[in-house]
């Protein structure tokens, strides 16, 4: 039997559906970026769509979790603003169809190259409403930039992959689109390239992108035009070598969306930037391709022809210096195993928020 798809049109209706649920519920925004989806009845949040508040003067946006990311980006850009954390579009990398939603962005804490300067999705999320596993509506945070009132469930919900509750509404702080962006590129070997990225990030020149891939080493600076010109020149002087200036838009979109890594399993590795080379080095003798973002702090790795998708090698190399998530492919657990203490706290939190254990059940351990 084809499973029934639940499509609530309001937060209240969603609450009733979760309260009434007899078995597991598998949550979807647009189904474009989930690392994993739980078993059971599919529940889609696309019906919770629409911008409820947009105040350009206060750099604030509040919208339903089902609101398409693209719709929000179009509204913002018309006012010269944006979501600064540069959420990736993972449809190609994860071989998905569908329409990315704000709820999915938050549930996966989806963050792109600008994270090194501007922070992650969670750093721009200022408020959230969600329905917990008992069907109760909960809010945390609000619509203001600075808020330390009560425990910060906003951060807890960001990146919780639907295991604590179904996000129904999100509030973001926004950023003005800078008037100018310049990308610097140079072709150097990996080790030297990663070293350049780290030096650039250690400079006062406010780099907003630092990546290494088939394109070589790439740096991005954004801001007022005179300032961008100055910083680009200062970076070239600091780092030496031959740098070419490019527009960079396609390059950063490709880094953000993990393009060019289409074969085999796909890993997303968060690590100490200086550990990046060693993590990829552990794959010597295995067919693989890698793109480095965040100055080496994020590595996208495609691995071919290993039974466990390369899990033993990658997770072994990253132990103690980061963690690896299997984004595409089989043969290993998607989420990295956690240390006992953290795992116990996380399990207990999920049991508190979802005592029936029905929301994206079991996907995070």
């Amino acid at each position: 039997m084809t499973p029934l798809v639940l499509q609530p049109q309001s937060e209240a209706e969603l609450g009733q559906m979760v309260r009434a649920a007899q078995g597991p519920v598998s949550l979807r925004g647009g189904g474009t970026r989930g690392v994993a989806y739980g078993p059971g009845t599919v529940l889609e949040t696309a019906g919770l769509s629409g911008i409820t508040l947009y105040e350009p003067g206060a750099l604030t946006l509040v919208a339903g979790a089902g609101t398409p990311l693209a719709e929000v980006e179009a509204v913002l850009v018309a006012q010269g603003q944006r979501l600064a954390f540069e959420a990736p579009d993972l449809r190609r990398a994860l071989q998905r169809q569908g329409v990315s939603t704000l709820g999915g962005v938050v549930a996966t804490n989806a963050s792109g190259p600008r994270r090194v300067q501007a922070g992650a999705a969670r750093d721009h999320l200022i408020g959230v409403r969600f329905v917990d596993g008992m069907g109760t509506v909960v809010k945390s945070g609000g619509r203001v930039m600075k808020n330390v009132t009560g425990l910060d469930l906003v951060k807890l919900m960001a990146g919780s992959h639907g295991t604590l509750g179904v996000i129904t509404q999100v509030a973001f702080k926004l950023q003005a689109v800078p008037e100018c962006a310049v990308t610097l590129q140079t072709q150097v070997p990996l080790s030297a390239g990663l070293g350049l990225l780290r030096r650039a990030l250690g400079s006062p020149f406010e780099v907003s992108g630092a990546a290494y891939g088939p394109f070589g080493a790439a740096l991005r600076v954004e801001g007022m035009e005179a300032s961008v010109r100055y910083r680009a020149a200062a970076l070239k002087a600091l780092l030496g070598g031959d740098w070419v200036e490019t527009a960079g838009d396609a390059l950063w979109a490709g880094v953000r969306d993990a393009h060019g890594l289409d074969d085999g399993a796909l890993w997303r590795v968060s690590c100490k930037p200086t550990a990046a080379e060693g993590v990829v080095g552990a794959l010597a003798g295995v067919a693989h391709q890698a793109t480095f973002d965040w100055g080496g702090g994020l590595i996208w790795i495609a691995v071919q022809g290993v039974g466990d998708a390369g899990a033993a090698l990658i997770r072994g190399a990253v132990a103690g210096v980061g963690h690896a998530t299997l984004m595409r492919g089989r043969g290993a657990a998607a989420f990295a195993p956690e240390a006992a203490g953290v795992a116990a706290l996380s399990r207990a939190l999920r049991a508190q928020f979802d005592p029936k254990g029905i929301l994206n059940a079991g996907i995070m351990g």
Binding site: R143, L156, A226, M364
Partner: protein
């Protein structure tokens, strides 16, 4: 303000408790002489005082763990304390508690410029974190006004901000990992010198949890390369409304100053009398600071000046030297001290949507006049984080109560216009009973459930953050 009745069983067993604390800690780490524990009777919310049973000052995570395990076994409450600078009573003791101070844990454990972090013990002061990396051209961004004295432990507990968080974010945006000791004594490592959690973002809920979830003993902090330079500009306006409109225009124009500070007339006068900073005589004053190379600063200030001139400022002074920059900041930085000279004051901390600034300032003025207590406003305008200072006379019977009632009304106003009770100071005991203004029972219950996970016996930092009636059943069981 009500506090729960002390647990007499625990109070009566004080001597035994102290003996057992001495059994797990070095002799000088346990303070039990009432003359010495007096220093720990209050924090910066000095209107409230209560002597704890004892104070412990451990030097290591293992010692913290031993204390918590012991207290947990004995059912003794523990109040964690950084440097005791909380304005919200975040480390206010109870009569049946042990105060656990981390002040002696102030070492730098590791500095790593290549990976842009520093790892410290959390008793280290905020300014001493920057001090450890400054000579090499780096700094730690969150800069609460108390940064000379306040400890990283308290910064993490309260998710502290500061004048420059408009650009750099608050503590939670600059925290990479912690070592946290749970009430059970269990030591848990959360996060590290990399981005993202592999699973749930526990770090996100630990930061800002006001000592409800555990005692953070070590932290990985993001450090940043120091900007090439910074320059403030001072502008005076003929009304709060005009100054508020100028702030909105600067933000709307997409300029990102590192700080936009706002002072109203009562505050300007007090600061001028106190610090002689040479501020103009006007209704409202803004200090806007930008960073970068000299040329970048010039370019940004040119834009800001364009905007400011459209609002007919009565004064516009760009700093031309280090000395002038110092003078511009002098008044603002001495605002709290200046207020303390004229009167006792209560400092509020609500945040509002920036667009509501003029309305809220007008309402505060009306409410202040109706009650007959002066209110001076000095705050971070760029992010809507208000700091109304209500002046009162502690020696005048009834004045404190009047002040607290006005404070509560102002915070309710902040929530009413879409804001919150506290932007960077925390709830503590001070705003505990106002939480129901901002949160409904279900919202609060979700927070209590997080507390249940980390501290199931409800022994850590009692009677803070949550209204007492909301937590009564949990505390009793």
């Amino acid at each position: 303000m009500d506090m729960p009745l002390p647990d007499q069983r625990i109070v009566n067993a004080r001597d035994g408790l102290i003996a057992r604390l001495r059994g797990v800690l070095p002799a000088d780490a346990v303070i039990s002489d009432p003359a010495e524990t007096r220093a720990y009777e209050c924090d910066a919310l000095a209107a409230y005082r209560c002597a704890p049973l004892a104070v412990v000052l451990p030097r290591t995570t293992a010692e913290v763990s031993a204390v918590l395990r012991l207290c947990s076994q004995m059912g003794v409450k523990v109040v964690p304390r950084g440097a005791g600078t909380s304005l919200a009573g975040g480390s206010f003791p109870t009569a049946d508690c042990v105060v656990l101070g981390v002040a002696r844990m102030n070492a730098v454990i590791e500095t790593d410029y290549d990976n842009r972090f520093i790892r410290v013990q959390t008793g280290r002061t905020n300014l001493a974190v920057t001090g450890a990396v400054e000579a090499d051209g780096w700094f730690y961004a969150p800069d609460p006004s108390s940064q000379l004295a306040c400890a990283i432990a308290g910064n993490i507990a309260m998710n502290s901000g500061g004048a420059h968080c408009l650009k750099y974010g608050v503590t939670t945006n600059n925290l990479l990992g912690v070592t946290i000791v749970l009430m059970s004594g269990e030591v848990v490592e959360v996060g590290g010198p990399w981005s993202d959690a592999p699973g749930l973002d526990l770090l996100g809920v630990i930061c800002g949890s006001e000592g409800q979830l555990g005692v953070v003993t070590e932290a990985y902090l993001r450090i940043l390369p120091k900007p090439e330079g910074a320059r403030p500009v001072l502008m005076g306006f003929s009304s709060n409304e005009v100054a508020g409109a100028c702030v909105a225009d600067i933000i709307r124009a997409g300029l990102l100053p590192v700080a936009i500070e706002f002072m109203d007339r009562p505050c300007i006068r007090a600061c001028e009398d106190f610090a002689k900073a040479g501020y103009p005589d006007c209704e409202a004053l803004l200090i806007v600071e930008v960073e970068g190379s000299p040329a970048e600063i010039d370019a940004q200030l040119a834009r800001i000046k364009d905007i400011a001139l459209r609002h007919d400022p009565v004064a516009y002074r760009e700093s031309g030297s280090e000395e002038e920059s110092r003078k511009i900041w002098l008044g603002r930085k001495s605002a709290f001290g200046a207020m303390g000279q004229i009167a006792d004051y209560m400092c509020l901390d609500g945040t509002i949507p920036v667009s509501e600034l003029p309305y809220v300032l007008r309402r505060i003025a009306e409410m202040s006049a109706a009650v007959g207590l002066s209110v001076a406003n000095v705050f971070h305008a760029g992010d809507g984080n208000m700091h109304p200072l209500i002046l009162y006379n502690a020696n005048k019977p009834g004045d404190l109560e009047l002040c607290e009632a006005l404070g509560a009304d102002i915070l309710k106003l902040c929530v009413e216009v879409g804001g919150c009770l506290t932007g960077e100071h925390g709830v503590g005991v001070e705003k505990r009973d106002l939480m129901t203004v901002q949160f409904n029972p279900a919202d609060l219950e979700a927070q209590l459930r997080v507390k249940d996970v980390f501290d199931p016996a409800w022994l850590l930092n009692p009677a803070k953050v949550f209204p007492l009636d909301v937590t009564a059943s949990r505390r009793a069981s």
